[in-house]
């Protein structure tokens, strides 16, 4: 609100003019021209592979552009390495933090700026300077704590502080909210506001349109390496941004009728998982999923959701408790692996697609039978009937609009969204009674998200039980009939779709158990 309209200012903080970059046959950026105003937050959105990260990597000196020029504060510059970028006052906070976990915060900030062989005086100097910065930007960080002991939200603040300490006037943030809980996101946004007030420029790369709407002044949309639209944030809306990203009309809302739940098909009673280090990663998990309903599990990634899915799908042993699958009780000693689970009508779309759901090196038709290679229908005597496998894959690809529809193409050559559609097609093809879905739309283009959501709802409407794990609150809210919230390995609360609000779930995700009395407590 307080930002000066950029059109009035003639001196831009950073200008990218006619940037062009190719990687072999891939034209990652074509003739991109973008101008960022000082004291503003500029959003950069686009589907996966639209060229956002390439562009920012060029600005930060990871890549050199094939053509075009970069101007910083009106002066043409040559950025060949990240050191050049830092010298010009450009800082970057990566999606995966670049911190030494066994160092303290102060040591991390000092790293690369020691100024001599003896650390003592430099440390003292750095401490004073950093404390001044902390005050200026309202970034509180415990300087003497080990980085590994800090929650991700605080680690991210350390990264921001590190960039500021190195004199960043322009700060690039790459998907900064992917790992944060909603209260942490709010805190981050307060910090970004403060940076803007102090005259810094923030470039925010994200695919979460809601965040773009909440905090940016301007937003640029990239598609296929080109800038296809630029908006003043106040004058646009999410629908318009989504349409610009995809290049056609999209639907963000999910149409669904109220659920008509049937009998319980899958339940867990007091299931515990203790990992190799002796840490309890899943604590006393109790839940039930009924036919004809979608139960959503909300939570910041890494809070026991993966373990829950792996236990229920038979991939991981549990140490105590009982899982009941269509009336059969399964204990810690029962033989129950992923093949058993599939035989009993439980299908699983795992969270980590490339690590679990497909084999990158295999052609698509081999990935398309992963987990079902024992099916009688796919074999002729002792040998796999590849003709039938390929035909099956072609039909899966047609049903789920997988592109390119080539069953012999290597799996890794499909985009994330198309790999995911292939996995969904494979798992939904046998009409499973129970479907476990983890992060169904992670790394998936907007167009494909709507398609996947529709498929899930239609499976529910056919009377199947669905357990959905997602780090995207919007997705949980849009799809679920009931919502469980996980934090630190525990299921900390349950809400019906009607009573669930983002605020309430967010509070529970941060670990505050939801009882009516404490509603509205802020983190």
């Amino acid at each position: 609100m307080s930002a000066a309209p950029p059109s009035v200012s003639s001196a831009w903080a950073v200008e990218l003019v006619g940037i062009d970059k190719r990687f072999g046959p891939v034209h990652a950026n074509r003739d991109v021209t973008l101008r960022f105003a000082p004291a503003s937050i500029h959003g950069l959105v686009g589907e996966n592979g639209a060229g956002k990260s390439t562009l920012m990597s060029i600005l930060y000196g990871f890549y050199e552009a094939d053509g075009g020029e970069i101007l910083v504060r009106g002066k043409q510059v040559n950025i060949r390495t990240p050191q050049d970028a830092i010298r010009l006052g450009i800082g970057m906070v990566h999606q995966h933090f670049m911190l030494v976990e066994t160092f303290t915060v102060l040591e991390n900030l000092l790293l690369g700026h020691e100024g001599g062989p003896v650390l003592g005086p430099a440390m003292a100097r750095a401490r004073a300077e950093v404390q001044a910065l902390e005050q200026q930007f309202g970034l509180e960080v415990p300087l003497d704590a080990l980085v590994s002991d800090l929650p991700v939200g605080v680690q991210q603040r350390v990264e921001i502080l590190k960039a500021l300490y190195r004199g960043a006037e322009v700060l690039i943030l790459d998907e900064p909210t992917a790992v944060l809980s909603p209260p942490e996101v709010e805190q981050l946004f307060r910090i970004l506001e403060r940076l803007r007030q102090q005259g810094r420029t923030v470039l925010l790369i994200t695919h979460k349109l809601k965040e773009i709407m909440a905090i940016t002044d301007r937003v640029s949309v990239l598609r296929r390496g080109q800038v296809v639209a630029e908006f003043v944030t106040k004058e646009t809306d999410r629908q318009a941004l989504a349409d610009a990203m995809v290049g056609r009309k999209t639907s963000l809302a999910v149409d669904k009728a109220p659920a008509t739940p049937g009998p319980v098909l899958l339940s867990a009673q007091n299931v515990n998982v203790i990992d190799a280090r002796g840490v309890t990663t899943l604590k006393d998990a109790c839940l039930s999923v009924r036919a004809g309903e979608i139960v959503g599990i909300a939570g910041v990634a890494g809070n026991g959701q993966s373990e829950l899915l792996e236990v229920l799908s038979g991939m991981c042993r549990f140490d105590s408790g009982t899982v009941t699958l269509k009336g059969d009780e399964i204990g810690p000693a029962t033989k129950y692996d992923a093949a058993d689970a599939r035989r009993r009508g439980l299908a699983h779309v795992p969270e980590d697609r490339l690590k679990l759901a497909v084999i990158k090196e295999f052609p698509a038709h081999e990935s398309a039978i992963l987990g079902y290679h024992q099916d009688k229908g796919l074999s002729k005597g002792w040998r796999l009937d590849w003709k039938r496998v390929v035909a099956k894959t072609v039909s899966l690809m047609e049903q789920f609009d997988v592109r390119p529809g080539n069953p012999n193409l290597r799996t890794s050559l499909f985009s994330g969204g198309n790999q995911q559609k292939l996995v969904m097609a494979r798992e939904m093809d046998r009409e499973p009674d129970i479907l476990l879905v983890g992060q169904p739309t992670r790394g998936v283009d907007i167009g494909a998200i709507a398609f996947i959501h529709r498929q899930l709802v239609s499976l529910r409407d056919r009377g199947k039980a669905i357990l959905l794990v997602s780090a995207e609150l919007d997705e949980i809210l849009a799809l679920s009939d009931r919502i469980l919230v996980m934090c630190d390995g525990e299921i900390v609360g349950e809400l019906s779709a009607a009573e669930a609000t983002e605020g309430r779930i967010g509070t529970m995700m941060a670990g505050i158990k939801d009882t009516p009395a404490v509603e509205g407590v802020s983190a």
Partner: protein, 376 residues
């Protein structure tokens, strides 16, 4: 559009034919330099090797006989490779497999060869399988690295065989550590005799019926790896253990079974060497063919269709090398090993050295046609 992003899509004949030819040519050039350096005529020496390997009927017979053994040990490496395991214990597995072959043959006096063969194959496969399954089990259930354990098992196999041959299996009243000779009735037919039977004249050589067994093994391995559910599970485990677990495959079981199959194939070397040629149990009959099998598998890209020509090449090197030593007194046995080593280095270990150059060569051509050259 980004689907074709894989930057090194060479045509199959470039990787399958051109690259090996370039590598072998270079290896021969370096070998020629070495021969020149010790003062011999490189052209004459390499010519002698070539003539020795493929110039006479006898030479061809020997080349094929060595290739038979190499096919077995290379298939062993290949099947383990597809299961994600680097089995460098082929030498020891062949050794122990040979023990199995020998014990079976010694215990069936008077049997005809065609009745003894299935049992000696079974004996060799079972002993080799067991010897490889132990490191496999240690890898799967105890996390001991397969490379380390299979190397150690080579040494254990060697010591065990010395002990057995010297103390237990030695023919009584004899100095050299060899067992009794098998019954003459069960000797595998020699190729020369079989050919004579159908009216084709062929020089006498150790080449025997085992060659057919080796070719059968190639077909079997190919069908198993690429056309069965078990082969699918094996390849899935080799490519991505987590994905295998997700697919309901127990990676640990697959690892043990894969190693057992690998050891079984290596163990068949004993059928060729002992049941086919030596007709007795003795020391050191694998003679490094277990190790050379690794190079053959590498050069043959772990596919039976590549392993057969690669085994022929290495068989020719073995046989040609023997001729070379015979004809050139100044060239020692060790120098022949150097030449073989250079070929292994270029064709096996440095297999990808010229790949980037080849990729550049191939990617330049089409792009020059379809678009202007990329700047800078």
């Amino acid at each position: 559009m980004s689907a074709g992003a894989g930057s090194d899509n060479l045509p199959w004949w470039a990787t399958g034919l051109l690259l090996p030819v370039v590598n072998v040519t270079l290896a021969l050039l370096v070998s020629a330099l070495v021969i020149f350096a010790i003062g011999e005529d490189p052209v004459g020496a390499l010519g002698t090797m070539l003539r020795g390997a493929v110039g006479t009927g006898e030479g061809i017979g020997y080349t094929l006989y060595y290739a038979t053994s190499l096919i077995f040990t290379a298939l062993a490496v290949a099947i383990a490779f597809h299961g994600g395991l680097f089995n460098i214990g082929g030498e020891g597995q062949a050794y122990i497999g040979g023990l199995g072959v020998g014990l079976v043959c010694l215990s069936l006096p008077g049997w005809p060869w065609w009745a003894a063969l299935p049992l000696s194959v079974l004996g060799g496969a079972a002993f080799g399988a067991l010897w490889a399954a132990i490191p496999g089990w240690l890898q799967a259930y105890r996390g001991s690295h397969i490379v380390i354990t299979t190397i150690m098992f080579n040494f254990i196999a060697s010591s065990l065989m010395v002990y057995l041959m010297v103390n237990v299996l030695i023919k009584p009243g004899q100095m050299s550590p060899e067992s009794e000779t098998f019954s003459a009735s069960m000797f595998l037919p020699m190729m020369a005799d079989m050919m004579a039977g159908i009216g084709i004249e062929m020089a006498s050589s150790p080449l025997n019926f085992s060659l057919f067994l080796a070719l059968l093994a190639c077909v079997g391995v190919w069908a198993f790896i690429w056309h069965t559910r078990w082969g699918f599970a094996l390849r899935a485990t080799g490519a991505n253990e987590n994905a295998a677990l997700y697919a309901g495959i127990d990676p640990r079981r697959v690892i043990v079974i894969t190693m057992a199959l690998s050891g079984a194939l290596a163990g068949l070397l004993g059928v060729n060497e002992l049941h086919g040629v030596q007709h007795r149990l003795m020391l050191n009959f694998p003679a490094g063919l277990g190790f050379t099998g690794i190079a053959v598998a590498l050069m043959g890209r772990n596919h039976p269709a590549g392993i057969i020509p690669a085994a022929l090449l290495f068989g020719a090197l073995y046989q040609g090398g023997t001729e070379l030593v015979f004809d050139y007194p100044t060239i020692s046995r060790e120098l022949v090993v150097v030449i073989q080593g250079v070929v292994i280095l270029f064709a096996g270990a440095l297999e990808h050295m010229f790949r980037p150059a080849l990729v550049r060569l191939f990617s330049r051509r089409p792009s020059a046609v379809t678009s202007k050259p990329a700047g800078a």
